[in-house]
Symmetry: none
Subunit: 249 residues, 2 copies
Amino acid sequence: MLKQERQAYILHQVNLHNKILSANLCQEMNVSEDTIRRDLLELSTNGKLVKVHGGAMSTSFSHTTAQNETIYASDSKKIIAQKAASLVKDGMFVLTTGGTTIIELARALPAGLKATFLCGSLPALFEYMQHPNIEVIVIGDKLSRNARITVGPQAISQVKAIKADLCFMGINAIDPEHGISDNDWDVVMLKKAMIQTSRHVVGLSIAEKINTIQAIHLSPVSGLHTLITDLPADHERLKPYSDKGLRLL
Amino acid sequence: MLKQERQAYILHQVNLHNKILSANLCQEMNVSEDTIRRDLLELSTNGKLVKVHGGAMSTSFSHTTAQNETIYASDSKKIIAQKAASLVKDGMFVLTTGGTTIIELARALPAGLKATFLCGSLPALFEYMQHPNIEVIVIGDKLSRNARITVGPQAISQVKAIKADLCFMGINAIDPEHGISDNDWDVVMLKKAMIQTSRHVVGLSIAEKINTIQAIHLSPVSGLHTLITDLPADHERLKPYSDKGLRLL
DNA sequence: CAGTTTAATGCAAGTTTATGCGGTTTTTGC
DNA sequence: GCAAAAACCGCATAAACTTGCATTAAACTG
């Protein structure tokens, strides 16, 4: 195993789990603790992670440089991301929205995945670009400042021009009767187009957004094919959705 | 086994697995490690892969694990950025390429500037987004991994659909007779479109790129209206460009 | 066609890099 | 404060790299 490869793996693990134990790493990769420590030292001097006693943590997670906004309900989103990542197979055409859950998904994607991702969210695009075998296609248009995603007619027509195998959609509010809703007109328009043009739409939602409603209606629940939450698939709170024919994960 | 054949095989393996061990290769092909090393050296000087201790990695993989991204000639680029920033006025429509000089420009823009910026470079877009009053428009298409900029027909048609007041173009090579040249086909196509569609094109080039030529011709010097370098405007090395009618800064 | 040139490869000696090991110091949880 | 875990330090070693040179085979030349 190459040194660079090892360091890339370490970095991936750190970004995925926020923290890692060096004891853990040296077992996984069959090298001595010294080597791991040297790797961590190198990575930390380059600012890629923060070394702590017993292992390392991601820079964003570290409180010393906590200018980055910490992700809300980060653990729940990591669980969702793991489930979602397992759906992506080599060669797929994947369309995604933006949002912190999608970013976690991007980090959770398996290292060697060969697929094409289409996205209009700058932070998500950055994460996709970290994967050497992922082809990234940027959806262009006006950048919505609060959503950090491109929105507008150009983006919508670009989305409509493709037929994605899979669409991952961050859900801001979902209710069995009222369906999916959101609070930004432009984003709703874009998501509608995404639902229209994708073979399989997967909604990603943390538990606390289940059974909530927001201002702008986006689609009935039936617009989704699969719903991923941080709850177990057979949780009673999700029953209304499986009754409506959604696959739960 | 022929040399070309061997190198093609190496390249294939690298692109398939993202990395290879030279020990592995010399066993598979029954040649000495020296030969493999020489092959890797040759391939890496041609930019086909990146040589590391113990083997090699694909360029895309090495980009994701790049250790120290220190900006080359950063001071010169800051000087250029300052000069360029003074050209942007409130209300302007500005089109830019990518590159480190452009990123410095983005950082050097006055705080309260109210303008619209169009760009396909992810790192540059991030910088533009830091300015609260700048409207950002993303140029969408396939993301070129080494240039970190969107390229392709969609990007070109998007560029052609607008008439920018000002275009900032990072210059990789410029020569009074041969004009502007570059080393990436897709990027050249995009820059050509930018020159066509902009009212005023400003070239940004550090001194050492003055009077150099690269593989792909982009435009005669007359395609630019202004040339900004880190040299004083009346420097004798720039005289051939002012003779050709360029405004120097 | 013989002699020369050139490219490609392997070999050997010396250097650098990466890694593991033993002993000592520091940190941490109790 | 104490025991255990982890970090640090120096050193040893093996693998990989560099350089220069010899050998071979192919290509070129008069």
